[in-house]
């Protein structure tokens, strides 16, 4: 009848659905580190069978949000500041330097427009004090460029660390004294991208990502 071709269509598999629900719950902090994840309970709550839940837990395990032990279940993991500084930030720099330089030649006007829209979204979120929206827009900005780079394995590695990057964005977002600065920084990054000078872009990314380091870590880096 009125159902236009997508009646009960999942359009996204139940597994993906479960992954999203759980990832959201973990990165937002609603599920806390150490909490147990029991397959039957989850499947009941989500109105599905255990098979999709199991596969979802495996994926979250790969993403480092969950740890699981044979025959003994799964638990939620946290993201330490130490990991952010020592692993995630350097990996992001490696990954994004590569992705950004590849993306430079491929970004068309449409892409630039989308990036600009994300910056606008940031400004709006910042004004409203919507820290989660701000963090998600931040993720979206970086992910869009990685997607545009059309480097399959780069995107795959990004997907592996992205949930944890999101987790620390969200955790740290409320601490910003000036949320608008996030939007401003991305605007500057975008401006450099528009100009298209590779060296300048790489330099801008380095500085942009380094912002996430705590003062002490910055001192360590020199």
């Amino acid at each position: 009848m009125t159902e236009l071709g997508l009646r009960r269509v999942p359009r996204q598999s139940r597994r993906d659905h479960v992954v999203e629900i759980l990832r959201e719950a973990i990165t937002s902090g609603r599920l806390k580190p150490g909490e147990r994840l029991i397959e039957v309970d989850l499947s009941r709550e989500l109105g599905t069978s255990r098979a999709p839940v199991r596969e979802a837990l495996r994926q979250l395990e790969q993403e480092g949000l969950v740890a699981s032990y044979p025959y003994r279940g799964s638990e939620v993991l946290g993201v330490s500041q130490d990991e952010v500084e020592q692993v995630l930030v350097p990996i992001r720099i490696t990954l994004e330097r590569f992705a950004f330089s590849r993306a430079l030649g491929r970004l068309d006007e449409d892409d630039i427009e989308k990036l600009q829209a994300i910056v606008v979204e940031m400004e709006e979120a910042a004004r409203l004090g919507a820290t989660e929206r701000l963090a998600d827009a931040d993720i979206a900005f970086h992910e869009l460029i990685i997607v545009c780079s059309e480097q399959r394995h780069c995107l795959q590695l990004w997907k592996t660390i992205q949930p944890r990057v999101r987790a620390y964005f969200r955790r740290d977002a409320p601490a910003h004294d000036d949320p608008l600065s996030v939007a401003r920084q991305h605007q500057e990054l975008l401006d450099v991208i528009k100009i298209g000078d590779e060296a300048a872009v790489l330099d801008a990314i380095d500085r942009h990502i380094h912002i996430h380091l705590a003062p002490k870590a910055l001192a360590d880096e020199g």
Copy 2:
């Protein structure tokens, strides 16, 4: 009777078994890029049901060895030289710099002995021209140190890229004019580790991993 408590015990889940078989087949090149992986066929060949096979394929997908498309199946992926140089090598450097510096204080005599044993294994494999054994020993050396660093997420990221690192080790191994040099380089690295000077170790790792770059890439890096 004689069965000493581990009769039919899997001791490793069927899923892990399937993962290992397929990973081995892909990294060794027995399964070629583009080849299709059909769940029922695999489950029949491996004498198991589809559930473990499905979960194994998901894991290999996370590792970047396999790509899968909803309702349309999975296929084997390759590892390009471009990815090695632009992504895997830099990521390895980031990861291993961190892991090695963390491991330095934790390596006990037992660990050093194991590392030494791996170098001996390399020498033996090199003399026999056993290129796959040589590549696997190379992997084992680096992985042991990452394990000793006791950085959970570091290990998790390593597990994500390790299969592709193995793939390019195995692919490139036969091309070495002097297989023994691999053992020699690791011996030198191990010697520096024994001394325990962090800066020297980090420097040695950089150079060690950079070896995998083709001459052209090296020129690019300056």
